[in-house]
Amino acid sequence: VTSITARPAIAGIAEVPPMRDPGDATAMDLVLEVARDAMLDAGLTPKDLDGLLLAPNFAGAPVTVSSMVSDYLTVRPAYCDVVDLGGATAAGMVWRAATAIEAGACSAVLCILAEAPDRRPGARSASWEGLPGAQWDRSFGPMGANSGYALAAMRHTYEFGTTAQQRAKVAVDQRTNACANPAAQFYDRPITIDDVLASPLVCDPLHLLEIVMPCSGATAFVVARADIARDAPHPAVSVRGFGEQTTHSSLASLPDVTRTGIIRSAGHAFETAGLTPADVDLLSLYDCYTITVIITLEDAGFCAKGDGGPFVADHDLTYKGDLPCNTHGGQLSYGQAGLAGGASHVTEAVVQLRGAAGDRQVADCGLAFVNGNGGILSEQCSLVLERIDT
């Protein structure tokens, strides 16, 4: 049995916070900036790194993206890969890196995600032959993720009676959190449930204020062997449990759109951690839409299936509350920087577990549950993260 302190841990984190206009910055510019900051945060230099995990969507990246970024960073990885799980990519990187370290393949893995507009001519026109949506969805005018999550939300309302007020509560509590986080896009703009309900219906039943705002930005973090993480400048955050499941590309292929791969991913995460949802001090749940948080709370076991609506209404999800959730504001109020948006749930958990969250610090925060979600509830990755007190 491996002791807690011997488990790989997150030793360093860095972010280029979400921004609406990145100016002339390219994704590669953001990669280099955030990679340096993550190494500084971990107290490491390129020669200390022997692993590299990258998100797949660097603008214009060729197929050999790992060697390209390695070359820029002067890292010579013994383990490198591109992790391709949509919004679950960051969480997926954490356990892959930890597992590779535990297997002895490497000792310190730098993980990088970045999002910036691709300004090359025709850059967004490519589609891959065989993508189910191109044949079976697009003739019917879907609105990307908006209509996908709306279809799930409508079914959730039908089966369980979930109300717009209950969903709006998620957006409101997260906005309260954002108002304590100067890096959030909606830092100084509190909202009420009425504000959410009065915002335009985009895809029934989802209102504008239940939907994320796309941004640019970047995130990097270092997962390292326990002894390396212990020697880093900040308290180490160990990877205590993990789980993952990918269930579909087209939401139509998920038989029950209110029951997701989170049942497996979170179940496995708590099982490997030897813990239950009741042990958690902080929730960091992928929130592309309000309904995503409600479904995640149910499927991860924080409440019974179908009770997510009343559950969020009855609990205070703010950093001051009885169930702190998405204390950075969540993507809904912090901003969603592409795949780095999902990484903000990992970095916020680390910041809180370090006790470094400032005005929005959750008291006695020792254990966090993180869930990453990709596509239309397609890829799910769950983590249980724990502060190591040394």
């Binding site: 189910p132 044949q135 697009r138 005018g141 879907p142 609105m143 990307g144 799930a152 409508m154 139509a252």
Partner: protein, 140 residues
């Protein structure tokens, strides 16, 4: 046939070879579903083999096209200019009585009167000279 200026043509589907018989039938205003004669499974969308028993000798069988709305959304802002003249319109998952699910639009209806569980039947709309899509409309 005159076309309302405000309603431009839908984007055509990118047809794969496994699904070509489905699209050819739709062109003839017939709805067909892939069926495995070995294990009896229906599957949609079409694939080169049965996902239940791996049999690669599958058939397409004709369906009367009756089903129920599993879930839906009313899209009130067109993301794609081709749909600007159609808002608000209903995007739905329809569960055919054979047990397979279609992504489609519910047409000839009041979008605000649509409900989950509502019975629907298939109908057809030509997108261009080569492609016909399967839509659904409420039945009494």
């Amino acid at each position: 046939v005159s076309v309302d200026d405000a309603v431009t043509s839908r984007p055509a589907p990118e047809v794969t070879k496994h699904a070509a018989p489905f699209w050819a039938a739709a062109r003839e205003r017939r709805l067909v579903i892939q069926h495995c004669p070995k294990c009896g499974q229906y599957q949609h969308y079409p694939r080169p083999w049965c996902t239940n028993c791996l049999n690669d000798n599958l058939e397409f069988v004709e369906s009367p096209g009756f089903g129920s709305i599993y879930t839906f959304t009313v899209i009130r802002r067109a993301a794609n200019p081709a749909f600007a003249g159609r808002v608000p319109y209903v995007l739905a998952f329809v569960d055919l009585d054979e047990g397979v699910r279609f992504v489609s639009n519910i047409v000839d209806c009041d979008p605000d009167a649509i409900a989950i569980g509502q019975r629907v039947q298939a109908r057809f709309e030509d997108v261009d000279d080569e492609h016909t899509v399967v839509l659904f409309a409420p039945v009494a």
